[in-house]
């Protein structure tokens, strides 16, 4: 375990508070964008994208009276330095911010940061709220797909995000890449705030962040040959001067993913599922990205092909130094591929830490349930079947999320009057372990 707290890199990150960029921030005490949406504007169309100014006075979200954030918000004065001015006094030493939102941004990990560089990606308190309307005359309601998620990703690192369907993990990935506009929060890519950037400014950065999807058949245009699929990005970013160079680059990308050059003229329907996924990866890699978001890249594939594709992604990361955000509902996949992992439930991160630590300790009852759900190959597999787990209960709706911990309905350790009232925040169980859990009664 690294000393974490006195790591200069660590301290730098503490600075990256959501407020820093905006000088108007201090003028807006109590302007909680969540409250605003939930109550004040509920009879108009929700504001998220349209009336959000790119750097307006009510942005980024100001301090609020949300009990979940408690006394640790707003952050102490030390935290108000802009991220660029590194190394202030260690704000993490301030007990008032121990469980705070900024704490969530601290460098975790049990090994020194590669080269002590700044992280490639910093996600700050990002939320995504979708308006839903049951009937035409109904009051609009809001689906909180992602709620207040913060993390960072170092260069050449893989962060795994695991959770069941509906936990918001794909929405989170899309919001980070601005494939959908985040409602609150911001994303720093290579120190640049990409959330409030114009699309024209974002465009050159888009080359550096690529995504591969779950269903390769749906992600590839059936009327394009493999060459056209892979070359599309090259032409968008004008990376090849002529056809010959395009061919060369396409061939190179295909060889990276283990596809022979002969497949260039094929159409997606002539390829197997595994080959299609390889083309999807080649397409992403052709433009030489630094960040690769993998959204359930192996869930639609056979077990035997899964192993091939996982091997390929692991090799590519090693060879190309890619940073990866790896999203899956399958803990086995996340545990195998990721340096660190975040467990999501109903839009929030409930546990986060170095993958081996999360696998060994499993503080959150939901993390435990996820581990219990892993099908076992061994002889104990059938013996454990009749055991009724807490999985039977339903997940609460993200349209009207519960006030306290969202997991209460399914939690065997829930305490009435506490868990269903107060929202737990992510905090380290063992200080310095970089392993955080949002639970009032973690399984320690």
């Amino acid at each position: 375990m690294s000393p974490g707290k006195d790591d200069p890199h660590d301290a730098e990150l503490h600075d990256a508070g959501p407020h820093d960029a905006d000088p108007h921030d201090a003028d807006l005490p109590g302007a909680d964008p969540h409250d605003e949406i939930d109550h004040d504007r509920s009879d108009t169309d929700p504001p998220p994208e349209t009336d959000r100014p790119s750097h307006g006075s009510d942005w980024p979200p100001g301090p609020d009276d949300n009990p979940s954030r408690g006394s640790d918000w707003p952050p102490g004065p030390d935290d108000n330095h802009p991220p660029e001015t590194g190394r202030p006094p260690a704000s993490s030493g301030n007990p008032s911010v121990r469980t705070g939102a900024l704490e969530r941004l601290t460098v975790e990990g049990d090994k020194p940061a590669p080269g002590r560089t700044r992280p490639l990606l910093v996600v700050e308190r990002i939320s995504k709220v979708f308006p839903v309307r049951r009937g035409f005359f109904d009051r609009p309601q809001f689906l909180h797909a992602v709620e207040d998620v913060s993390f960072y990703l170092r260069r050449s690192e893989t962060l795994g995000i695991v959770g069941e369907s509906g936990s918001g993990k794909s929405t989170l990935a899309r919001a980070i890449l601005r494939l959908t506009e985040p409602t609150f929060g911001r994303v720093l890519f290579d120190d640049k705030d990409i959330t409030h950037m114009s699309l024209a400014d974002l465009r050159p950065l888009r080359r550096r962040m690529q995504i591969i999807f779950q269903d390769p058949s749906a992600a590839l245009n059936p009327r394009m040959t493999v060459r056209e699929c892979v070359a599309e990005g090259l032409s968008i970013f004008r990376m090849a001067k002529d056809d010959a160079e395009t061919d060369e680059l396409v061939e190179k990308a295909l060889s990276l993913v283990g596809m022979p050059a002969e497949t260039m003229g094929r159409f997606p329907h002539e390829l197997s599922g595994g080959q299609k996924q390889r083309v999807g990866i080649a397409r992403a890699l052709a433009v030489k990205p630094e960040l690769l978001v993998c959204d359930e890249p192996v869930s639609a594939l056979d077990v035997s092909i899964q192993a091939q594709i996982l091997n390929l992604l692991l090799k590519l990361q090693r060879d190309l130094g890619l940073s990866m955000l790896f999203i899956s509902h399958d803990l086995r996949v996340i545990a195998h591929t990721s340096h660190r992992m975040a467990v999501m439930f109903l839009g929030r991160v409930v546990e986060m830490g170095p993958s081996p630590a999360v696998c060994d300790r499993r503080y959150h009852p939901y993390t435990r349930a996820l581990f219990d759900a892993i099908p076992k190959l061994g002889p104990e597999s059938r013996a454990r079947l009749p055991i009724v787990t807490d999985l039977a209960a339903e997940t609460p709706s993200a349209v009207d999320p519960p006030k306290g911990c969202a997991y209460v309905a399914r939690c065997p350790r829930a305490e009435k009057g506490k868990c269903d009232v107060d929202l737990p925040t992510l905090a380290e169980v063992v200080p310095g372990s970089h392993h955080r859990v949002a639970c009032w009664h973690p399984e320690v």
């Binding site: 893989t158 091997n311 086995r332 060994d360 099908p375 190959l377």
Partner: protein, 369 residues
């Protein structure tokens, strides 16, 4: 369509399960598939998707049909009730004996009373299988009223009861929901409710959990377990994930490129796989005990994957169909086709020359037929 007997190396007859049956000593199985061969006429010629597949589903047990996409497992499952995709597909040989009746010979009208009533089907994608414009309850009621003379009110009452039985919370409300209003897990439960609406004795589930996340998958596995062990249904479970099959199956049949390469009791197949393909497939499964040091596979290390992809069935490889991907390939494998070799009493059989060689210490390799 008259199914012609396809003269293979063994006499294929549903009436003499004897030698080719994995569990020959037990009473007549509920379902006996013998030498089933299914062909498709395509532009590129005839494709044999299923070649002489034989297996049993004993009463009250779970048989897992394991294999990669394109290995013929879905076609096998559909052929049991003669739902081979038309046009082009047809059962070219073999028999499917269900409760004493050969379904391949049954007239279409008689077969309709078997499908849905005595054999229930659950498919991979419940959203594609449920009709989006009808309420879930009326689709369950339709399945009941198709086979039984009951009033609408009674059918609705039973639909609610079925939804409760498959673990849908608040079934009185959910009965009036449209499919899109339900989560993936609830939709799959609704699908299962339709499949079991008429109390079938056999349930065929084709990748029932592949579209679901792991938590929901576990719930569905528990539901199947309950249906089999509390309600005495037999289950033919078709899946690519050995770990899923391990949780439920009593017996496992491994298909590769339309051919049974191994079959036997699940405990033996999973713990001591005989065929190089089964061995390689099981090795490529991600470790399930994720505590540090508990599995032999280090995190972020390369997994022992099976290289290559399954063969194109329009042009199946010569000899053993697995030979191009096999680690233990011999010259003989490229020319000759191996037979299913018994692995000893109660251990099932496998199709590999390595097991035929008398020099190997394989337990008493008695060769079938």
């Amino acid at each position: 369509m008259t199914p012609e007997r396809h003269g293979r190396d063994r006499a294929a007859a549903g009436t003499s399960p004897g030698q080719s049956t994995p569990a020959s000593e037990s009473p007549a199985p509920l379902l006996a598939v013998r030498e089933l061969t299914v062909r498709f006429a395509t532009e590129g010629g005839v494709v044999e998707a299923v070649s002489g597949v034989s297996f049993d589903v004993p009463r009250g047990s779970v048989v897992g049909l394991m294999g990669e996409s394109g290995c013929g497992k879905t076609v096998t499952a559909l052929s049991i009730v003669r739902l081979v995709p038309e046009p082009g597909g047809h059962i070219a040989g073999g028999s499917v004996t269900f409760d004493g009746t050969d379904l391949t010979k049954l007239p279409e009208r008689a077969l309709e009373s078997v499908r849905g009533k005595r054999i229930g089907f659950v498919f991979q994608d419940p959203l594609a299988s449920l009709n989006p414009v009808y309420r879930v309850g009326s689709q369950i009621a339709e399945a009941i009223r198709l086979h039984e003379k009951v009033s609408r009110r009674e059918a609705r009452r039973r639909a609610i009861e079925l939804l409760r039985r498959v673990g849908v919370p608040q079934p009185e409300e959910r009965v009036d929901a449209y499919p899109h209003e339900l989560s993936g897990g609830l939709r799959q439960r609704a699908m299962i409710a339709i499949a079991i609406a008429c109390n079938p004795s056999l349930l065929i589930a084709d990748e029932p959990t592949s579209a679901l996340d792991m938590v929901t998958q576990r719930q569905i596995v528990l539901l199947f377990h309950d249906l089999v062990h509390t309600h005495g249904m037999s289950l033919l479970l078709v899946a690519h994930d050995p770990a899923l099959l391990a949780e439920l199956s009593d017996e496992i049949v491994v298909l590769y490129a339309g051919v049974v390469v191994e079959r036997g009791p699940a405990s033996r197949v999973l713990a001591d796989p005989a065929h190089p393909y089964t061995q390689a497939l099981l090795r490529s499964v991600l470790p399930d005990d994720l505590r540090s040091g508990k599995s032999g596979v280090k995190p972020r290390s390369l997994l022992p994957a099976i290289e290559g992809s399954p063969p194109d069935l329009g042009r199946p490889p010569s000899g053993c169909r697995f030979h191009p991907r096999c680690e233990a390939v011999m010259e003989r494998c490229k020319r000759e086709t191996p037979r299913l070799v018994s692995l000893g009493r109660g251990r099932g059989d496998a199709r590999c020359f390595l097991l035929e060689a008398p020099s190997l210490e394989a337990p008493s390799t008695e060769v079938l037929s």
